[in-house]
Amino acid sequence: MAKIRISAYTDKLSVKPGETLSVMASADAVSTVRAELVRLIHGDETPGGPGFVEQKIASDIEREWKVGKQYIQKGNFIRVADPSMKLTAAGPFTLHAFIWPSMPDSGRQTIMGHWSVDATQGFALGINPSGRLEFWAGDGKTTDAVAAEVPLVARIWYFVAASFDPASGKVTLYQEPVLTRYNSLLSKIVPYEYRSHVVESIRVRPSPADKASFLIGGSSESNPRGSFVSQCFSGKIDRCGVQSTALDRAALDALRQAGAMPAANVLAYWDTTAGYTDRGIGDTVVDTGPNRLHGEGINRPVRGQTGYNWNGRSDSFRMAYGEYGGIEFHNDALTDCHWTPTLTLTLPADLRSGVYAVKLMAGEAEEYTPFFVRPITPRAPICLLIPTASYLAYANIATAIDGQISQGVTAQVGTFSDADIEVYKNNVEFGPSTYDLHNDGAGACYTSYRRPIINMRPKYRSGGVGGCWQFPADLSIVAWLEHHNYAYDVLTDEDVHREGAAALAPYKVVLNGTHNEYYSEKMMDATEDYLETGGRVCYLGANGYYWVVGFRDDEPWIMEVRKLEAGSRAWQAKAGEHYLASTGERSGLWRHRNRAPQKLTGVGFTAEGMDYAVPYVRMPDSYHRSVAWMFDGLGDGVIGDFGLVLGGAAGSEIDRYDLSLGTPPHTRLVATSEGFSDNYPLVQEEVYFMTPGLGGTQHPLVRADMTYFTTHNNGAVFSTGSIAFGSALPCKNFDNSVSKLLKNVVDAFSKPGKLPGAEFDQPENRWQA
């Protein structure tokens, strides 16, 4: 019998009691699954901790549910609804487009057309398996094709076209480079012959299949699993269209040179730059021709990329819409599985805020789909802000198995679970994270939670870092709150992004997760406004508030990031493509938009390594009465020489105090880490000249700093400067120095009014020798 496997996701991550939530599941080798609603307390199963802890919550989903195998449409393409079949009339026509193929030699790809792969009906302009431009046509019995003479060269802009006259069967294939100093991989000095012009008559007259659609970047394919789009294009397509005449070469030359909609005979002209706004670009590709046959991008093709006519002077689509007509397609992109719901759950009205999951079981197999229940009315003083944006960024990260740099970064041998291998085996089944590369080598800038996320599971151990990371690690903070019986609510990044500071305002103190690396502008603003008005934040992680990300208001499940020229980045956006198509903002590091994390938290990213973590040592500042209360009952010794992740409280990724980056001037450096190994090198954005000795044993800036400062209206920020901190909390049954320290802070922060020690603000007596 085949191995049972369940994969699932929920339509929402943040819900309130009484709301409904759908669970989309797919299962192999089983036809029903048993469901339970569970509250998740702890995930990390590392010995020395509480192990996995969940609580079953009685609910009406507790029964067997029918489940089947559900399939996924991957790949970018644009679907053009053409109900009156205007684009597939029997007369002569011309297909034309500007293209920048990124993988021309990777099998058949469709640039545009109305082609049914299974019925071999219709026509398309595309790239054949030998990497040559090709026009093909079929009538359901016979197919025929005309191919260009020379192969397409990767990452070069071309204008390509095919015209067809059914009366004579004559096909005119047109391929001319539109290479400039700026727009392509290669300079014009390379003596390639890019051009090809072929005129040939074919025997077949295309008869498009009714059930196929006109597609840009793909072809229709029906198979026993359903109707899909295959032969997806990889690369960029700029302005393109369909003419109702068979243009000859001279007319196509004119079309290439004009780069605009022709004056007559337009069936469709997709001006890919139409509809841009200063605040972002949607998925609709506008047909500015008379028939208004707009297209819809599937799986978020990347809009606003440099076009064939990019002149290198404008840095963003916002500066020159007309030069940014490139739509980038990837044949493995995925932003929504579109599975049908397996079950719908109405949350009990009295459900307390917290971390929950629908647990699906069959045989030995189980699947958890976590979600976060926020209160209908906030009452607790403490808020745990779940860094869902960062979960999204790392969703299904495969670098341990797929990235050469991984073992070098983490200083570990990659350790994989069955789930990792299943997904990898199925061609990165659930799509890439923002750390992975698309099949053509481009970094993935979109990620989504409308797909199973194998590493957002309570027991998941990250292959690269050899332990719990993000969601399962954040459960250690949940377990700590539960252990101390704190009254707390749970919020997600999504709520903060949507509602701003208002979402945080009801709380005395907000606890971050272990790694809140990805922040939208609204999330940054909310945090800042909350702190200004007296809010208190415990920043229990590191490398937080780091990347600029964007969401579209109507699709919060999809996040966008562009990795720019600095930062610890798995890839780098191409020149001129540094702005988020979702919002129009410059992406990259918040630091490079003058909002370094130090300005909000006192500390910011300084190093990472995963060989081992170290304890903190108290700094002289910690003996000042204004902060010494944090260390009540701790003594003078090291803090946190234990931990479920890397064996210490300071480590994994670490942050540092730095006045030059905006650490508030009155910030107290209460503790710092012991020394790290050379597997913690200073981060790249700190390095202006490369020198030897950037590792932890030689560079003084490689350290985790624990800081504290106050803000307006009794607000304050306590920062730990370490990802491993949270995973040290549950050690020794929560009875340990890290736990005590945090308890002192949270107890103080969750009380209204003046903070302890606030009165000790006078200079020391000078006569005290």
Binding site: P151, P191, R195, Q404, G408, V413, K425, D611, S677
Partner: protein, 513 residues
């Protein structure tokens, strides 16, 4: 200048590589519009071009993928001009025999090559066509052209008879059966009065040579008609082999019928079809034979003729038309032109056949491919030796490496490995075992850095079978869709043990490199 501290491995003898060409290349059309012509009723041109970028110059060069058509045209030109101009009557006669046997062999290639059916009744079908049409002419007064029309019917009719068992019988048994059928025919015509048992053949049929034509003229006419028949056979072969029927048959060779059937190929129908087509064609050859020689002879059914025919295609190579024709040419030359050699010539034919079978794979037209394979094997052996000696990429090998940086990286890695090997000792290994999750010596970190930055293909990883209970070492594929493979069945109980297990493997790989 070498500092003397790093020694580049001893360089093997390096010679210059690089070849110039004799003829200027055909360039891509580039800016010129290429009006591509197609052979009527097909989807392709007469010659198959491919234009590709020359990796050395980046020039887009056009070359003809398959030059066989040009060779055929040249060969046919020689055949049209040489024998009538330079040969005597007997030489032209031998040419006629050659052309006729070529036609037979080309058609036979459809069954024995394309369909993979070992039918040895080929000559028998020709014989039936010859006897049948001769009979019609002798007894019913058919003129030569009517005999030509009737020939294919005799062939096809006889073809049906021998096609049926082909569906059920396997290679060797079917071959035996067809030999038996041929023998049966021979016995029949030798004993049948009607078919000319007394005259050692049925003679007196009409001929296509006009009565008032000279002897040489008649022989020349016969030669040209035979040549035309050969060209027609070629056309038939190309058509059948290159179209749907040929593809079906080639997809269903002997011993793979079940597989083909699973793919939805009705190979039985395809085989019968090709049998009928080739038998009809052979029937026509028989009719031609009868009108050329004014009758038919029992020698058509004899074993020695069959063996000669077999020699022709074995020498030329089964599966290609050029092989069939070249083999025929060699055998006919020896048999008919060097007739003065006597029985020795048969020994010669046998020797050539034996030599072909012993030393060549795929007859004389397989020689080029065989030579190419042999040189490729020699080349890779030589490269393996040079790499084993010190990782040096030879200049000739470098021409095939697209990303030249890989050569530099290879050289770098070689140096680095040399340095690291010097650092590895028992103490270092023991240090690794005893210091998980803590500071390590610079030497150990240097070795580990090298291991960690290895390329993904075959890079070691750990499979967590059961957390904190069961770990195994795997090797990553480096290709999406291909899961890591288990390296061995060693089991570790802690992540630290597994990590050290990987370290030991890597050290071993390093020391063995």
């Amino acid at each position: 200048m070498s500092t003397g501290q790093q020694s580049t491995p001893a360089t093997p003898e390096i010679g210059l590589v690089g070849r110039s060409r004799l003829l200027p290349p055909l360039r891509a059309h580039g800016d010129r519009t290429w009006r591509r012509w197609r052979v009527p009723f097909t989807q392709r041109g007469a010659l198959d071009y491919i234009t590709a970028f020359n990796p050395i110059s980046l020039v887009a060069e056009r070359r003809i993928v398959d030059k066989r058509l040009l060779w055929w045209l040249a060969a046919l030109l020689v055949l049209v001009i040489v024998p009538p101009l330079f040969g005597n009557d007997s030489f032209i006669g031998a040419g006629t025999t050659f052309a006729m046997f070529s036609a037979i062999n080309i058609v036979w290639m459809l069954t024995i090559g394309t369909a993979g059916i070992f039918s040895l009744a080929t000559l028998a079908v020709v014989g039936v066509g010859a006897y049948g049409t001769a009979y019609l002419s002798v007894y019913w007064g058919f003129p030569w052209w009517a005999m030509w029309i009737a020939g294919p019917f005799f062939g096809a009719g006889f073809g049906v008879l021998i096609a049926l068992p082909a569906i059920r019988l396997e290679g060797f048994y079917y071959a035996l059966l067809t030999v038996g059928v041929a023998e049966l025919c021979r016995v029949w015509v030798v004993q049948s009065r009607t078919l000319g048992a007394a005259n050692n053949g049925l003679y007196g049929a009409d001929g296509f040579v006009p009565a008032d034509m000279s002897t040489t003229g008649g022989i020349t006419l016969g030669y040209f008609l035979a040549l035309a028949m050969m060209v027609a056979a070629l056309a038939l072969y190309t058509y059948v082999n290159g179209q749907r029927l040929g593809r079906l048959l080639r997809a269903a060779p002997e011993k793979h019928e079940a597989f083909a059937e699973a793919l939805g190929i009705n190979y039985r129908a395809a085989r019968i079809q090709v049998f009928l087509i080739s038998s009809a064609a052979l029937g026509f050859v028989g009719a031609f034979y009868a009108t050329l020689l004014h009758g038919a002879s029992p020698s058509l059914f004899t074993m020695d003729q069959l063996l000669l025919l077999l020699a022709m295609i074995v020498i030329g190579g089964i599966g290609t038309t050029e092989g069939a024709v070249a083999g025929t040419l060699i055998v006919v030359l020896l048999d008919k032109v060097f007739i003065g050699l006597g029985p020795l010539r048969l020994v010669l034919i046998g020797a050539i056949m034996l030599g072909t079978v012993l030393f060549l794979r795929g007859g004389i037209f397989g020689v080029a491919a065989q030579f190419k394979n042999w040189t490729a094997k020699r080349r890779s052996e030589r490269r393996a030796v040079s790499r084993g000696k010190g990782g040096i990429v030879m200049p000739e090998e470098a021409t095939e490496i697209h990303d030249k940086q890989n050569i530099a990286i290879g050289l770098f890695q070689l140096r680095l490995r040399g340095e690291l090997k010097a650092l590895v000792n028992d103490a270092l290994i023991e240090e690794h075992r005893t210091t998980p999750r803590s500071r390590r010596s610079d030497n150990l970190e240097r070795v580990l850095n090298y291991f960690r930055m290895a390329p993904m293909a075959e890079k070691y990883g750990v499979l967590m079978v059961k957390p904190f209970a069961e770990y195994r070492i795997v090797a990553i594929s480096g290709r999406r869709g291909v899961p890591p493979r288990a390296v061995d069945d060693q089991m570790f109980t802690t992540p630290e043990d597994a990590d050290h297990g990987v370290f030991l493997k890597r050290v071993q790989d390093l020391m063995e490199s």
